[in-house]
């Protein structure tokens, strides 16, 4: 078929051009932009607008019109690509190439860039269709341009075309073009294998050729533009995600036998430092050609010219050159031969020799920056060190510099860092200084080095020189932190105000300080001990005389640093004593001489002083107490009563007799201080008494109490070895008593009370017999349940319930019961069941009484949800029946109060009413899911059906009750949407047979939400809906096949007595799904699940499907498209031997069919 615009005469092209120009002008001037946009869209959506657009690009005087025309070609060509003839495709690409070469001097650069990227996109779109010769022809044209034979402008344009091309082929920067991932992957591999190296060497030559002229020139010359573009493209190519990288991911060849690949990829993930790993075939281009040497010399030449006009430290050319040099530092992998790292070492040495000039001598460089020199060279130097650290082992890293200087790289690193910290100390108030950036990069460098050490086995440490460098550095770090602390002691800015935020923000930095401290543990611990006792002494000496605030802030800071040095966070696992501490103090056997014990002991002794009310008021400010509690929490996780298992586990983990012997001793010394013995119990007792005092003696200090409840107490009861001792302590009993009886605990934050209740309940497992555990729970909860029962049965409940003090009390008690319920364990299950059982009626009464207090309602629902979650799987049949009945009454009551209710209070509270409802419904859905789980896991002695409980029935009734409350508005909350649809799809997949028993209204409501979900933005929600639809339809199909009723009346279309047509649900869904697939925008990920839903729908509703298909075919006016659509529909249901069964193989076949169907017809169905 010839181009249909082929016959269009010049006049018509002119007219189109004018129309577009007018539209572009209107858009720029903001005159009727909607109409202007419509003009452009109409050309974009028309068939084959290429000739008109090309005409505009070549002839229009308006840059913006040319730009728009290129955009139109892109849109139309990607849409119609499948229909275009080979010569048209080729013509479009070569039009772009010719245009940019011919108009390389065009003043409006953005048009050139747009056309170049259009060319790149089209070339990629046709990459698998073009023959090798065709591609060759395109590339020859580009190569000539890049080589510079057509002048500098064309050379620049050629390079920028390649830049678009590379970024288009790189998966992270490519445009989707509606193609599957495989397509992009194939293109990427093909470009890398066949062209990438060639492209690199073209630009390499281009850069090389212009560089001479640049070094000779004294002023700015046009070559600079070409050269920086070339350097930039080289950088981009080196950033390419090379194939061989994936293959060699785990091998860090040549250099380091101790470092395994796992560690490497871990540290990489952390710092997002891309390694450059092209395969061995790149060796000649990158290494043997002397490329790096040329680059370094070129940069050195540039440095000399920084005084000249047009050149300076941060000029684009210098920046690109430095970036490229840093990038070369990360070169690694199979490009180096297996010569035990010799060649890589040479390569790195060459780079380092160039880079050290940027940083040495550190003090002079730092002074120069302070007096106004740009910091970018130093920062790039730091980045280069980080790169070097990632590709080498600590030993080799240190050795590298030794061949150039009398000291190692670690010493240089430490010296630069000390300068950085010195600068930080003088102006720590300013944010985002060069020194804070340099600090972060250099800290990362240390971490990379030290973590490699960590992974490479415990008997390796830094060389002696490195250890002393780390010790010096740590001393400077602590000094700077303490200085910052005392200077900021009187600051009152909000952002540093509460600990939670500041700890989290500082945490990462402090952990890297800790790594450095542990590398030099022998000097770090005594240093910390000394600093700590100095501060304490100062505090006592100045008591009553001077303001202690500065010292308090220093102590605060010291506690945080010490906590990080001594112990790890654990992240959910029980942290072990850090191995640097273990191995360094292996030979210290006496407890009172063990530096770690001395340090820990003095901190605990200091903390104990907070129990004295007089000392507390003078020193222990809430903030200092926060640090104390945090330290105790962190320390006790590692050191307090470590369980025997973890000791054994550790030795088997190390799997080395030698290490076992050495690790036994320090553990023993530490163990006698805080193990499971009388001393350990004394420490535990102190900690508990401190916790109690923070809860009762610091009224209103929420953050402190949060730390005590969540970090300290939770951490303690997590460990079996601790709770067995805990329950024998008087202090623990005091805590439980205070919880039950003291009013002051009632004024703790409600969530903290919940957590406290949970903690106390968990500790019940430490009792010797199950009976005593259950008895303990009963005594803990009886006063609360008794109060609630009594209150709910009061005659004047309605009147007094709304009093603020009663509301507060009820909410606190509910929070506490919820805390107990969350601690359900088999051992105490019975007592907790009894607790919940006794408040069932009060809960329903309160739900009625407090129907307008959304806060209380939510608490009631959450309590029931948590209680059911903890209990359901253990319940016997009879108990289950009671619980289920209770839940149904709860749901009914809630629904009765909320259906049809419009609540309004003034200003924006409509929104909060919505949010309240959303939270309630989420809790109810959670409750239903919890009930569902009874069907999956059940520890009851007899089946629950014995008492007539049918979980599916129950959950459907529940769904029936709450479904009307779930409105499309509420489904806009993503979490609610997700839990609703996952419950729905679970129900329909597991119990589809119940559907037929639902009433028409209930079912149509559910269907309405399904339909809403199908058109949702969230891919996951749509996927869940598709699964639900699949479950519905396949159930119906299979049931009908077996001669049963399937979905019953829901699945039949009929006319009601009024003559209105009621469509069957399945045909409604079929229609909706077809509409979605053919005419709407959706993620291609969904096609497979859509196929799974569509197949059973088609099988159920054959005739509706046929009708739908023929309607669509009839609607196509273009005979070619009509033919293609008919064929498409034909092969959708027949190709690949599709049969009419619903087995896995058939589903798979249909998935394939649907994919190719969509690919075939989606494009032209979208043409207007």
């Amino acid at each position: 078929m010839a181009m249909n615009t082929g016959a269009a005469d010049l006049a018509q092209l002119q007219a189109t051009m004018q129309a577009i120009e007018v539209a572009c002008h209107a858009m720029q001037m903001h005159v009727n932009p909607a109409a202007a946009e419509a003009t452009i869209v109409s050309l974009r959506e028309s068939r084959r607008p290429y000739q008109a657009c090309q005409f505009i690009i070549e002839n229009s005087q308006m840059a913006n019109a040319r730009f728009q025309a290129a955009g139109i070609i892109r849109h139309a060509a990607l849409r119609e690509w499948g229909l275009l003839e080979a010569d048209v495709r080729r013509g479009l690409v070569s039009f772009c190439l010719c245009f940019i070469m011919k108009h390389a001097t065009l003043p409006d650069g953005y048009v050139l860039v747009k056309v170049a990227s259009l060319g790149a996109q089209l070339l990629k779109r046709g990459w698998l269709d073009f023959t090798a010769a065709e591609k060759e022809a395109f590339f020859i044209q580009v190569k000539q341009a890049v080589s510079g034979v057509h002048g500098l402008d064309v050379q620049f344009v050629g390079i920028s075309f390649l830049e678009s091309l590379v970024s288009e082929f790189s998966p992270t920067t490519s445009s989707a073009m509606g193609r599957p991932r495989e397509f992009h992957e194939q293109c990427r591999i093909s470009l890398e294998q066949d062209y990438m190296k060639g492209l690199y060497s073209w630009v390499q030559h281009a850069a090389f050729n212009v560089s001479n002229r640049i070094t000779e020139a004294d002023s700015e010359i046009p070559e600079i533009k070409v050269c920086s573009a070339a350097l930039h493209l080289m950088l981009q190519i080196l950033n390419w995600d090379f194939q061989s990288k994936k293959a060699g991911e785990n091998s860090k060849r040549g250099l380091d036998v101790f470092c395994d690949g796992k560690q490497e990829s871990n540290s990489l993930r952390r710092f997002e430092c891309t390694l450059v790993q092209p395969g061995p075939e790149w060796r000649d281009v990158l290494i043997s050609s002397g490329h790096v040497g040329w680059l370094l010399n070129f940069y050195t030449a540039l440095r000399k010219k920084f005084s000249c006009e047009g050149y300076w430290l941060d000029c684009p050319l210098a920046v690109s050159a430095r970036k490229l040099i840093v990038q070369f530092c990360t070169l690694t992998g199979a490009i180096f031969p297996s010569d035990s790292g010799h060649m890589q070492r040479q390569h790195l040495l060459q780079l380092l020799a160039g880079i050290v000039q940027w940083m040495e001598p550190p003090d002079a460089v730092s002074d120069a920056i302070k007096s106004g020199k740009s910091e970018s060279e130093l920062l790039d130097g730091c980045r280069a060190l980080l790169s070097l650290a990632t590709v080498t082992s600590p030993l080799i890293f240190d050795e590298l510099l030794k061949s150039l200087r009398p000291y190692g790289t670690l010493t240089l690193l430490s010296a630069v860092m000390c300068e950085v910290f010195k600068d930080l100390m003088t102006n720590h108030t300013e944010e985002d200084t060069w020194s804070s950036e340099a600090r972060d990069i250099l800290l990362d460098t240390w971490i990379v080095l030290l973590m490699q050490l960590d992974a490479s086995g415990h008997n390796h440490s830094l060389p002696a020189e490195g250890i002393s460098a780390a010790a010096d550095l740590f001393a400077v770090i602590v000094e700077s932190e303490l200085k910052a602390a005392s200077e900021s002691a009187f600051n009152d800015d909000d952002e540093h105000d509460y600990l939670q935020a500041s700890v989290t923000a500082m945490d990462e930095r402090l952990s890297s300080y800790a790594l450095i401290a542990r590398a030099a543990i022998g000097s770090a611990i005594p240093l910390l001990t000394k600093l700590f006792s100095e501060r304490i002494m100062r505090l006592h000496q100045g008591r009553g005389i001077s303001n202690p605030t500065e010292t308090l802030e220093e102590l605060y800071s010291l506690l945080l640093i010490t906590g990080h040095v001594l112990a790890d966070e654990g992240q959910g696992e029980t942290p072990l004593v850090p191995k640097e501490i273990k191995s360094h103090y292996a030979n210290v056997l006496e407890m009172d001489k063990h530096p770690v014990i001395m340090l820990s002991g003095s901190i605990i002794k200091f903390a104990e002083q907070s129990l004295d009310p007089v000392v507390r008021t003078s020193f222990f400010s809430p903030r200092l107490m926060e640090a104390v509690v945090w330290f105790l929490a962190r320390w006790s996780l590692t050191y307090l009563m470590p369980s025997e298992e973890s000791v054994e586990h550790r030795s088997s983990y190390e799997n080395c007799n030698d290490a076992l012997l050495r690790s036994k001793h320090p553990t023993n010394a530490l163990f006698s201080f805080s193990g499971e013995n009388d001393r350990g119990k004394i420490v535990l007792d102190i900690i508990i008494r401190i916790s109690l005092s923070t809860l009762v003696s610091y009224p209103g200090e929420k953050d402190l109490q949060a730390l005590t409840c969540y970090q300290l107490l939770h951490g303690l009861v997590k460990r079996k070895s601790i709770i067995t001792h805990l329950v024998t302590l008087d202090s623990w009993r005091d805590l439980a008593n205070a919880f039950a009886n003291e009013r002051v605990i009632l004024s703790l934050n409600a969530a903290h009370q919940r957590s406290l209740a949970q903690t106390l309940t968990v500790s019940a497992c430490g009792m010797k017999t199950p009976e005593s555990s259950n008895e303990y729970i009963r005594s803990l909860t009886s006063h609360m349940t008794a109060y609630l029962v009594e209150l709910s049965s009061k005659n004047d409940l309605k009147a007094i319930a709304q009093q603020p003090d009663i509301i507060l009390l009820v909410s606190c008690l509910l929070e506490r019961l919820r805390g107990v319920a969350r601690a359900s364990e088999p051992r105490v299950q019975n007592a907790i069941y009894q607790m919940g059982f006794s408040v069932m009626n009060p809960v329903l009464t309160f739900l009625q009484t407090y129907k307008d207090e959304s806060v209380v309602v939510y608490l009631l629902l959450k309590f029931v949800t948590d209680w059911v979650e903890g209990q359901i799987i253990y319940l016997e049949a009879q108990e289950t029946a009671a619980v289920v009945e209770f839940c149904m009454r709860l749901l009914q009551l809630y629904s009765a109060h909320n259906i049809g209710k419009i609540s309004v209070s003034l200003s924006n509270s409509l929104r909060t009413a919505d949010a309240d409802k959303y939270k309630d419904l989420r809790a109810l859905l959670q409750l239903l899911s919890n009930l569902c789980s009874k069907d999956l896991v059940d520890f009851a002695s007899e089946p629950i059906e014995a008492y007539g409980t049918n979980i599916s029935q129950v959950v459907y009734t529940g769904l029936h009750i709450i479904a009307p409350l779930i409105t499309p508005e509420l489904l806009k909350y993503p979490k609610l949407c997700h839990s609703y649809f996952s419950l729905l799809s679970h129900l329909l997949e597991v119990y589809p047979e119940i559907i037929e028993q639902l009433s028409v209204e209930a079912f149509s409501h559910i269907l309405g939400t399904l339909d809403f979900g199908l058109h949702h933005q969230d891919v996951e929600a749509v996927d869940l809906c598709l699964r639900a639809v699949k479950a519905l339809a396949s159930h119906h199909y299979k049931d009908r096949g077996a001669g049963k009723i399937g979905l019953g009346s829901h699945a039949t279309s009929y006319n009601d007595p009024n003559g209105n047509f009621h469509e069957s649900v399945l045909s409604r869904l079929l229609r909706s799904l077809m509409q979605l697939l053919l005419f709407e925008d959706y993620s291609t990920e969904l096609v497979s699940s859509a196929a799974d839903a569509l197949l059973p729908l088609i099988l159920c509703e054959q005739s509706v499907y046929q009708k739908l298909a023929s309607e669509l075919i009839e609607r196509q006016t273009n005979p070619v498209f009509r033919f293609r659509l008919r064929n498409g529909f034909q092969s959708l249901t027949t190709s690949n031997n599709l049969s009419s069964t619903l087995d896995r193989i058939n589903y798979q076949r249909f998935r394939k069919n649907l994919h190719s169907f969509i690919e075939d017809v989606w494009g032209f169905l979208h043409i207007v």
Binding site: E701, K702, Q802, P804, L906
Partner: protein, 160 residues
């Protein structure tokens, strides 16, 4: 509970216990608080410290429950705040008079005629619309510190 008792209670609390003291740290978002002698609903609570090593204080942002005005207050978190006793009572709507007053049916069969229609547009239109359609409507009346106002509406189905 008997109707007389209810009557008695609601008269009594117009006097003595209009507010209750409660520790500032325990007042949560969504709770009530008295600021500048007005009953308010708390929409935001933040805590800060008086100086780094000082004590915590709570910063409340709250909305007057009757006129919707925004009020703010800062209180040390260990101190007490006044919390209003906010009561809600449901009445069946009997009539809407032309001057904007409503007639409500109390639990003991009397009518209550001293309340105006609410000012909120959507609630107002729902009440008027529902009433004109002849639906059975129950309105919630919120009262605190001697003031009252219609705050919610529930449609309990068409009149039978």
């Amino acid at each position: 509970m008997s109707d007389e008792e209810h009557q008695f209670e609601s008269k009594a609390d117009a006097g003595a216990s209009k507010t209750y003291p409660q520790q500032a740290g325990t007042i949560r978002k969504g709770g009530y608080i008295v600021i500048k002698a007005r009953p308010c609903k708390v929409v935001e609570v933040s805590t800060s410290k008086t100086g780094k090593h000082g004590h915590a204080k709570c910063h409340f942002v709250a909305i007057d429950i009757f006129n919707g005005k925004k009020l703010e207050d800062i209180v040390p978190s260990s101190h007490n705040c006044d919390v209003p006793h906010v009561n809600r009572t449901d009445y069946q709507l009997i009539d809407i008079s032309e001057d904007g007053f409503v007639s409500l049916l109390t639990e003991n069969g009397n009518t209550k005629d001293d309340l105006k229609l609410p000012t909120d547009d959507s609630l107002l239109s729902q009440i008027k619309g529902g009433f004109e359609e002849g639906k059975d409507l129950v309105v919630s009346v919120m009262s605190a510190m001697g003031e009252e106002q219609i705050c919610a509406l529930k449609d309990i189905g068409p009149k039978n």
